[in-house]
C-alpha cells in the first residue's frame, strides 16, 4: 500500500494501469483528457500491455470497445458529457450485448449551452442504458470504484458494463491524498478475464448482434433486466471483498450521522464532501441533521434507501442534473418512488444545484439545512422543487 497525491483523473489512470486491460479505445474530451493522457504515457513507457486505440470519435471508441470485448478482451475506456452523448446508442448496445466494459465518466454538463464544468447531466442522461452506475465522492473513491467496477462487470451473473463517475474538475483535477494498493494485490483482486462466446474462437463461430424480431426481443431484454438486478447483490459482495483488501467500506450508500437525524440530505459526488462539513458544524450546535452519500445509482437500491430514511422528519434530495418536464431531478424521482408504499410520509424537497459547474458552497448547504429545519417546524408541505444558488 502506498500513499500518493493524485487527482481524480490520475487515480483512475493508476487503477487502469494496475488492472492492465487488453484494449482501451478512447477519444479525448475535457475534463477526461488528462486521464487518457496519463494512461497513454503508461502505454508509451511500456508499463501496460494495453493496446490503445485512439479512435476518431466517441461513437467509434465505444464501437471498438464492443468489438474488442466481444472478441474476448478485457476492455476499459473513459469519456465525459457530449462524448458520452455521442456514443449513446452504443451504450445500449454494449449493455444488451453483455459486454463487461468499464468506463470512467468524468461528469461534465451536457451541451447546450456548451460548458465544460461539472454536473451530472451526462451520466444521468444515460441512466436507462443498462449500465451499472457508481458515483465517487473523491479521488480515493474514483480509484477504489474503478477496481471494484471490473469485478462487478465481469461477474457471470451480471456480465454488463459499468460506469464509474467522478465530478469533472472538482475531483478529476484536484490533487488529493490517495491510498493505492500494490500491483500484486490488484492483480489478484481482478484476476483473469473469462470471456463468454469470444469471436476470436474460430472453432466455435458465434453470431453477435442478430436481428431480433418481436418473437424474441422481449425475452432477451427480460434477461438483461435480470442481469442488472443481480448486480444489486454483487455490488455489495464485491464491496465486502474489497473492504478486506483495502480497509475501506463500500456499500450502496454511506450514511453519515443518521442515527438520530431528523433532517437529512441525500447527495452524490463531490457535494457530499461539503455537506459532511456542514453536518458536523450543525451537530455542534445541537441540530439533529444527517447525510446520505448515494454511491450506487444503478441498480437503484430502493429497499435499502427506504429503510435508511425511516425516522426522518424531512428529507432534501440534491440533484446535480434535471430531467426536463419531469417532476424533479432523477435522484428525487427515484427516492420518492422507492419510498412510496413504505409508510414514509415526510416532506421530500428536491434541490437542483450546481448545473454547469455552479459552485455549491458551505454556506449554501447550510442554508439548505436551515430551510429544511423550517419545513419541519412549519408542519406544512413545502414547494418540492427548489434551486440552489441561481439567479431567478
Amino acid at each position: 500500500m502506498k500513499v500518493v497525491g493524485l487527482t481524480g483523473n490520475d487515480a483512475v489512470a493508476e487503477a487502469m494501469r494496475q488492472i492492465n486491460p487488453d484494449v482501451c479505445a478512447a477519444y479525448p474530451i475535457t475534463p477526461q483528457t488528462e486521464l487518457m493522457e496519463k494512461f497513454a504515457q503508461f502505454v508509451s513507457d511500456g508499463l501496460v500491455k494495453t493496446e490503445l486505440v485512439l479512435a476518431e470519435s466517441e461513437h467509434s471508441a465505444m464501437s471498438a470497445c464492443i468489438g474488442a470485448s466481444a472478441a474476448g478482451a478485457r476492455v476499459m475506456t473513459a469519456t465525459s458529457a457530449n462524448g458520452l452523448a455521442l456514443m449513446w446508442e452504443m451504450l445500449y448496445i454494449a449493455a444488451s450485448l453483455r459486454c463487461p466494459i468499464v468506463m470512467a465518466v468524468v461528469n461534465r454538463a451536457l451541451s447546450g449551452p456548451i460548458n465544460i464544468h461539472c454536473d451530472h447531466s451526462d451520466s444521468m442522461g444515460a441512466r436507462d442504458a443498462g449500465w451499472v452506475h457508481l458515483f465517487s465522492e473523491n479521488s480515493q473513491e474514483a480509484y477504489d470504484n474503478t477496481l471494484q467496477a471490473l469485478r462487478i462487470a465481469e461477474h457471470y451473473d451480471v456480465f454488463s458494463p459499468v460506469m464509474v463517475t467522478l465530478d469533472g474538475f472538482i475531483i478529476s483535477h484536484t490533487l488529493e491524498r490517495v491510498e493505492i494498493l500494490d500491483d500484486e494485490q490488484v492483480n489478484k483482486f481482478v484476476g483473469e478475464f473469462k470471456p463468454r462466446y469470444p469471436l476470436l474462437n474460430t472453432n466455435n463461430p458465434i453470431t453477435w448482434g442478430p436481428l431480433d424480431f418481436h418473437d424474441y426481443y422481449f425475452e432477451h431484454k427480460r434477461g438483461q433486466i435480470e442481469g442488472l438486478e443481480k448486480a444489486h447483490g454483487i455490488v455489495r459482495d464485491v464491496g465486502k471483498e474489497y473492504e478486506k483488501l483495502s480497509g475501506r467500506c463500500f456499500d450502496y450508500f454511506e450514511p453519515y450521522r443518521m442515527e438520530d437525524a431528523e433532517v437529512a440530505v441525500v447527495a452524490l459526488g463531490s457535494a457530499v464532501g461539503t455537506a459532511r462539513g456542514v453536518v458536523d458544524e450543525l451537530r455542534e450546535k445541537g441540530k439533529k441533521v444527517g447525510l446520505i452519500k448515494l454511491r450506487v445509482f444503478r441498480p437503484f437500491p430502493r429497499k435499502e434507501i427506504a429503510q435508511a430514511l425511516k425516522g426522518l422528519k424531512a428529507l432534501a434530495v440534491m440533484d446535480r442534473s434535471n430531467s426536463f418536464g419531469a417532476y424533479g431531478g432523477p435522484v428525487f424521482a427515484e427516492i420518492r418512488s422507492a419510498c412510496y408504499g413504505t409508510g414514509l410520509d415526510i416532506p421530500i424537497v428536491n434541490y437542483i444545484y450546481g448545473l454547469g459547474g455552479r459552485d455549491t458552497t458551505f454556506e449554501e448547504i447550510t442554508r439548505l439545512y436551515s430551510e429544511m429545519g423550517q419545513v419541519v417546524s412549519s408542519g406544512k408541505r413545502p414547494d418540492e422543487i427548489r434551486f440552489l444558488n441561481v439567479r431567478e
Binding site: D22, V23, A25, K49, T50, E51, V53, L54, A55, E56, S57, H59, S60, A61, S63, A64, C65, I66, G67, A68, S69, A70, A71, G72, A73, V75, E89, M90, I93, L97, L199, L200, N201, T202, P205, I206, T207, W208, G209, P210, L211, D212, F213, Y216
Partner: protein
C-alpha cells in the same frame, strides 16, 4: 489462385436458408469472399440487407464468427476485434492467424459509415473492408445514398414532374479510400468471380488495411428480372460505368478492359430505375451521364497500368 473447380469444392461459409431476395448479388459476393478467406476469419457487418437477411434470431447463415453492432460502425467494430486479437496474440494467449473482414452496404459505408471507415484505415488496422454497393439504402426500400448514380429513381429522389431522379453524380469512394494511402484498394463486381476472388486474396495478404468496393446489382431496387443479375453486373463493367481496377501501394492498375466499350444506355435501358432516360425528354440526362462515365474512364485509362491481355473477358463469369 484457385481454379473454379477447386473453389467450388470448398466449404460454403455462408449457408443457404437466409432471406435475401432471389437474384441478389450481395450473398453471392459474400460467399465468394468467404471461399477465399476460409474459417480463420472474424466478420463484422453494418445494419443493412446483409445483416438482416442472414441473422434473424434464432438462425444465422454465418459459419464464421460474426458481429453486428450498429449501422455506421462496421469498420470501428472490426477494428476493435482486430485490436483485441493483436493484444491477445502479443500476450501469447492466441496462436492462430486470423483475418478480419468488415462488410457494409453503400449506405453504411459511403454515408453514415464513412467516418468510422476513414478512422479505422487511418489507424492502420490489418483488416479488409468490403462494401457491397447496391447504390441506395436498399434494406429500407431504396432511399438514395451518395452511391446512387446520377438520374437514378429512388424513393427519396424520385422521378416526378419537376425533378428527374438524383441530381448528383455518385461519390468516388475508391478514390477517397485511395487517398488514405493504404496498401490495397480495388473496385470489383460480383459477376466477375475470378477478378473478385483474386482481389480478395491480394487484399487479405496486404500488410495493413485493404478495401474492395463491389458492385452489387439489386433486383428490387434497380428493377430488372431476377435472373439477370450477373448480366446487369457485366453491363455495368462493359459500359465502363464501373471499371474493375486495383490500386496497389498507390499504383493504379486496370484489371479488365472491355473489348468493346458499350454505350451507357445498354446498361440503363435494362433497369426500371433509369426508364425515364429512355423516354421522351430523357436523352439529355443520358448524355450527361454518358459524358461523366467517359470523363472518369479516360482519366482512369491515363493513370492506370493496363491488363496483360486487354479486351479479354475472364472465363466462367456468367453462364
Amino acid at each position: 489462385m484457385a481454379s473454379l473447380k477447386e473453389l467450388a469444392s470448398r466449404e460454403d461459409l455462408l449457408s443457404g436458408g437466409h432471406r435475401a431476395c432471389a437474384g441478389c448479388a450481395m450473398t453471392s459476393i459474400v460467399r465468394q469472399v468467404l471461399l477465399i478467406a476460409g474459417r480463420n476469419v472474424v466478420v463484422s457487418c453494418a445494419t443493412g440487407c446483409l445483416e438482416v437477411t442472414t441473422t434473424i434470431f434464432p438462425y444465422t447463415a454465418w459459419r464464421v464468427p460474426f458481429i453486428h453492432s450498429a449501422f455506421e460502425n462496421s469498420a470501428a467494430t472490426i477494428s476493435g476485434v482486430e485490436t483485441a486479437y493483436r493484444s491477445l496474440r502479443r500476450q501469447g494467449k492466441i496462436k492462430e492467424e486470423t483475418k478480419f473482414i468488415g462488410f457494409g452496404g453503400d449506405g453504411g459505408t459511403y454515408d453514415i459509415g464513412l467516418q468510422s471507415l476513414s478512422g479505422a484505415f487511418e489507424r492502420g488496422h490489418k483488416m479488409l473492408y468490403i462494401c457491397y454497393d447496391n447504390e441506395a439504402y436498399m434494406n429500407t426500400g431504396n432511399q438514395r445514398s451518395s452511391a446512387t448514380p446520377f438520374a437514378a429513381d429512388t424513393t427519396t429522389c424520385p422521378v416526378g414532374c419537376v425533378v428527374k431522379g438524383k441530381p448528383q453524380f455518385h461519390k468516388d469512394l475508391a478514390a477517397i479510400i485511395t487517398a488514405h494511402n493504404i496498401p490495397y484498394v480495388a473496385q470489383a463486381c460480383g459477376s466477375f468471380w475470378k477478378d473478385l476472388t483474386t482481389k480478395v486474396e491480394k487484399a487479405l495478404s496486404a500488410d495493413g488495411p485493404s478495401f474492395i468496393n463491389v458492385l452489387s446489382p439489386c433486383v428490387l431496387g434497380w428493377k430488372y428480372p431476377t435472373d439477370e443479375t450477373v448480366e446487369i453486373g457485366k453491363l455495368a463493367v462493359d459500359t465502363c460505368f464501373w471499371p474493375l481496377y486495383e490500386v496497389v501501394e498507390g499504383n493504379y492498375r486496370l484489371t479488365y478492359i472491355p473489348s468493346q466499350k458499350k454505350p451507357l444506355g445498354e446498361w440503363t435501358k435494362r433497369q426500371g430505375r433509369f426508364r425515364h432516360l429512355h423516354e421522351l425528354g430523357g436523352e439529355e440526362l443520358l448524355e450527361k451521364a454518358q459524358r461523366e462515365v467517359d470523363r472518369k474512364w479516360e482519366r482512369l485509362l491515363a493513370i492506370s497500368e493496363k491488363p496483360a491481355r486487354p479486351g479479354k473477358q475472364p472465363k466462367d463469369t456468367s453462364q
